[in-house]
């Protein structure tokens, strides 16, 4: 049987010394995916990630709906970060449909996407904490993200799955007095997350568990094509909000957080620093936002495209660079939509990092990759 399979499809041979262990898809430590690890005693000798348990065929579905009706389902892969996952698609659709976006809408988008980045990162931090056995770090972020979820609810009408971004702007204008409420809550939120240092990031237990585990060197981070916090934790200064600013990010002062260590600790610290940077960006955006004006260029229900085109747009999401490649053949529906998501790109680092690591370090390495299985599967 194996002889008939072409090279690369052959089955692996069993080894008496090596034990194969399936972690997931039901195991909570693996998220919605299976990680097949081969262990020799306590050490991992090989790891084979097996995603796909939450594959929904978003890209196929997008070929059957027009540019507007694609919006609610394309955000489903990451409902906590739904503004950011829609962002590149909306930017691409605007280029294909030939729409201009009002200035105020651009600022509203930046505020929404930064709030969403914090909401996602807090959720990730809660999970990261609980899988290291740190219950406080599960309770605090899970509670504190409610502050920002309330803001998003005021802004969009929904706690998650906002479907707020549309080609041409955002769906609704900000509610009255939103700026004041937002500023107050964001300031409180920032004070609050700074307290996490004492209980979590400066905690000797966390440091001894994560320092020096799963070290990804600078060269390998580049070679593996990792992105987002994984890349920045390995000492590469790369953030699309600075390097390829979209919407109004070029008018805001964005600082990139970089750490040189490349271990699990650095990878878990960079998103936390990014949240403070997000608070900073929100405050700047609230100051600079035009006080009035339209937030949406109205479109017809079934808008016409400018003709055949291909677009590749990318933004910085909570999990790194998020690209959207849209092929249009001039019809109202896209011919092909490809989402190049940060989780899928960072997954390639997992087999590399776990090799030679102790089995007990698997959760800390796996969750430090800032990986969201549903997004990787799409």
């Amino acid at each position: 049987m194996t002889a008939e399979l072409p090279p690369g499809l052959a089955l692996q041979k069993a080894d008496e010394r090596i034990m194969t262990l399936n972690v997931g898809p039901q195991h909570p430590g693996s998220g919605h995916m299976r990680i097949v690890v081969q262990i020799d005693g306590d050490y991992i000798v090989a790891c084979d990630p097996d995603p796909g348990y939450v594959h929904r065929g978003e890209e196929k579905m997008a070929e059957y709906r027009n540019y507007i009706t694609n919006i609610p389902h394309l955000e489903r892969p990451v409902i906590h970060d739904s503004c950011n996952i829609l962002y590149p698609y909306v930017l691409g659709a605007e280029e294909i449909l030939g729409i201009e976006v009002p200035e105020r809408a651009k600022y509203v988008r930046v505020i929404a996407s930064e709030l969403n980045r914090c909401i996602y990162t807090m959720y990730w931090l809660a999970i990261y904490g609980i899988f290291l056995g740190h219950s406080t770090m599960f309770m605090w972020p899970a509670g504190d993200r409610e502050l920002l979820i309330d803001l998003m609810e005021k802004m969009t009408g929904a706690r998650v799955t906002h479907a707020h971004f549309v080609p041409g702007g955002v769906r609704n204008d900000l509610p009255p007095n939103f700026e004041d409420t937002c500023l107050r809550q964001v300031n409180y939120f920032e004070r609050r997350i700074k307290e996490y240092a004492a209980v979590f990031y400066d905690n000797p237990v966390l440091i001894s568990r994560t320092r020096g585990t799963g070290v990804l060197s600078r060269q390998d981070a580049i070679r593996l094509g990792t992105t987002g916090s994984v890349l920045r934790a390995s000492g590469i200064d790369y953030d699309l909000r600075v390097k390829e600013p979209y919407d109004v990010y070029d008018e805001l002062d964005v600082h990139t957080n970089v750490m040189k260590e490349g271990d699990s600790y650095a990878r878990s610290r960079v998103p936390w620093l990014d949240m403070m940077e997000s608070c900073n960006i929100i405050r700047q955006a609230l100051q600079k936002i035009p006080k009035s004006g339209s937030v949406r260029t109205k479109l017809k229900p079934n808008p016409k495209t400018k003709g055949p085109a291909t677009v590749y747009k990318r933004v910085e999401s909570g999990r790194g660079s998020l690209g959207c490649y849209i092929v249009s053949d001039g019809k109202p529906e896209p011919y092909r939509v490809k989402m190049s998501v940060g989780s899928f790109r960072n997954l390639i680092a997992l087999p590399y990092l776990l090799k030679g690591e102790k089995l007990g370090n698997m959760p800390s390495v796996y969750w430090s990759l800032n990986y969201w299985p549903v997004e990787a599967d799409r």
């Binding site: 002889a3 008939e4 399979l5 072409p6 090279p7 690369g8 499809l9 097996d50 995603p51 796909g52 594959h55 065929g57 890209e59 196929k60 579905m61 059957y64 580049i222 070679r223 593996l224 094509g225 890349l231 590469i236 790369y238 390097k243 390829e244 400018k306 003709g307 055949p308 085109a309 291909t310 590749y312 990318r314 660079s321 690209g323 490649y325 092929v327 249009s328 053949d329 001039g330 019809k331 011919y335 092909r336 490809k338 190049s340 899928f344 790109r345 997954l347 390639i348 599967d377 799409r378």
Partner: protein
């Protein structure tokens, strides 16, 4: 079995190269879906381009495409040169050489995404690599789009039929999972890829590769 497979690609390039020239005039204006371009839209961008060319082509991006054209001549064909984006169409025989040149001489270091696009009317499947750079700060905004095409069969047997492309995974390691995804979703087998297994689909998936156009969603 294996010798049969390795012979097929040698026989196939002929029909492949015959079918690729027609798209050439169209692709200069960037639209890949040929069938519809014949109606009305393509002449407009095609007629616009020559007027804009001397003024509007961004200089830095033009430099990148010029280097590739200088090195490979008519083996590569410039799809478009836009702000921060350069598209190069390459035949499948040359994709590996171009990828090596892009990595070694142009400082691109990682593949951001690997996309397969099905064109049933052309009887071809297009595979598009979006290549970026972390090390060269002048290329931080740039995305180089490398597009190549594989022959498409009506009744695909993924891994066993003529729908094959050389893998660039040994040039860009980061293309590994992307190529695996294209293999399962469109049935393009990557020669030289060490691990062409399924990634997202169930192990017992026995239908057409789902992102092909003839695989229809129920009720649509």
């Amino acid at each position: 079995m294996m010798s049969d497979d390795s012979e097929k690609p040698v026989a196939d390039p002929k029909p492949d190269t015959k079918s690729s020239p027609p798209p050439k005039p169209d692709t200069k204006s960037s639209p890949p879906p040929k069938p519809d371009t014949k109606s009305s839209p393509p002449p407009k961008p095609a007629s616009k381009k020559p007027e804009e060319k001397p003024i509007e082509l961004p200089a830095f991006e033009k430099g990148i495409s010029d280097k590739l054209v200088e090195k490979f001549g008519d083996k590569v064909e410039v799809g478009f040169v836009k702000k921060d984006r350069v598209r190069i169409n390459i035949s499948k025989e040359n994709i590996h050489k171009v990828a090596e040149f892009v990595r070694d001489a142009l400082n691109y270091d990682h593949v951001e995404s690997v996309t397969g696009v099905d064109f049933p009317t052309d009887k071809e499947i297009e595979v598009v690599y979006h290549v970026g750079s972390y090390t060269d700060s002048s290329l931080a905004r740039q995305i180089l789009v490398l597009a190549t095409r594989a022959p498409r069969e009506e009744n695909p047997i993924p891994g066993q039929d003529s729908t094959r492309l050389p893998s660039i995974r040994d040039v860009f390691y980061s293309a590994e999972f992307g190529e695996r995804e294209v293999f399962e979703m469109l049935g393009v087998y990557f020669e030289g890829h060490p691990d062409n297994r399924r990634l997202l689909l169930p192990e017992d998936w026995a239908d057409l590769p789902p992102l092909r156009k003839d695989f229809a969603i129920k009720g649509r």
